[in-house]
């Protein structure tokens, strides 16, 4: 089963797929972001209680979702790498770090800018915000770790282990608003429904999709950079670049 899946993740195939899709992903992501931003800023009605400030959530929530999803993706790839020693998993892990770092920084910055007019403060050390801040430190740490080893293989192993151990923070972030009494409100969207009016809610998945395209562009370029730097002397890479 695993071998069947793995044959689709040959470095060469992944490189060619990234090369074919990267710029399309950037174009679709950038245009859809601008269109959805126009929708969120100028078409959607103001909120009854928060007025205009609620519009920040269309940037804040997708950033929060991706900051956690990217980390889960990294931990899964770290696990696969440690168990099966597949090069591509280590490449996926390394290629996702700076994306997760940027999304986590964005969620903290947009959250702070939303918090000032809503809560009266940019920052409080409550459980949700603190655990997200720890996630930012984790990303910075992993990025630093990755570049602090001469051997790529050692770096991959250490980064994988740290990513797996650090994944404990993801459920803490998710359930922090339920486990502790926090200033940050609990989830607005659950399996049982949403507290956001349908008139505004539909813009959220659109923004998530535009974020996904932009993230995929960065991810695919990172993958190409990793593949080239790890295999620069091989015949296959020469063929890929000349082909």
């Amino acid at each position: 089963m695993y071998k069947y899946i793995a044959k689709y993740f040959l470095l060469e195939k992944v490189f060619l797929f990234c090369r074919a899709t990267a710029l399309w992903s950037l174009g679709i992501g950038a245009i859809s972001f601008l269109l959805v931003a126009y929708l969120c800023l100028f078409i959607l009605p103001a909120d009854a209680t928060q007025s205009e400030v609620y519009r920040i959530l269309f940037v804040h929530v997708p950033s929060a979702i991706f900051s956690e999803l990217v980390y889960i993706f990294m931990a899964i790839n770290g696990f696969i790498y440690l168990v099966w020693r597949t090069k591509i998993s280590a490449i996926f892990l390394s290629s996702a770090i700076n994306i997760g770092l940027v999304f986590t920084a964005l969620v903290l910055v947009t959250g702070a800018l939303w918090g000032k007019p809503t809560w009266g403060t940019y920052w409080v050390w409550d459980a949700r915000i603190t655990s997200t801040f720890i996630l930012l430190i984790q990303y910075i740490g992993i990025l630093a770790l990755k570049s602090s080893f001469n051997s790529k293989e050692t770096a991959d192993q250490i980064v994988s282990i740290v990513a797996i151990i650090g994944a404990i923070n993801i459920p803490i972030i998710k359930f922090s608003v339920e486990w502790w009494n926090t200033l940050h409100q609990s989830a607005s969207i659950t399996f049982s429904g949403s507290s956001i009016d349908a008139e505004m809610l539909y813009a959220l998945p659109l923004m998530i999709i535009s974020f996904a395209f932009l993230a995929f562009f960065i991810f695919s370029r990172n993958i190409q950079i990793e593949i080239l730097s790890r295999n620069s002397n091989t015949k296959k890479v020469r063929e890929l670049l000349n082909g």
């Binding site: 950037l26 992501g29 950038a30 972001f33 601008l34 931003a37 969120c40 800023l41 007025s51 205009e52 400030v53 519009r55 920040i56 940037v59 804040h60 950033s63 700076n98 994306i99 940027v102 920084a105 964005l106 910055v109 947009t110 800018l113 939303w114 000032k116 007019p117 974020f211 932009l214 993230a215 562009f217 960065i218 370029r221 990172n222 190409q224 950079i225 080239l228 730097s229 620069s232 890479v237 020469r238 670049l241 000349n242």
Partner: protein, 41 residues
Amino acid sequence: MDNLLLVYACYFIAFATLIGLGAFVEIKFRSQVKELLEDYD
């Protein structure tokens, strides 16, 4: 009005950050390809 500026700032920061990182990796990728092609020649 102040709050609206804050909202615009958030969208700008998000877009500029993602496009900025995209531009950074694109430049890094292109220079890496150029360097490798020069080495091969």
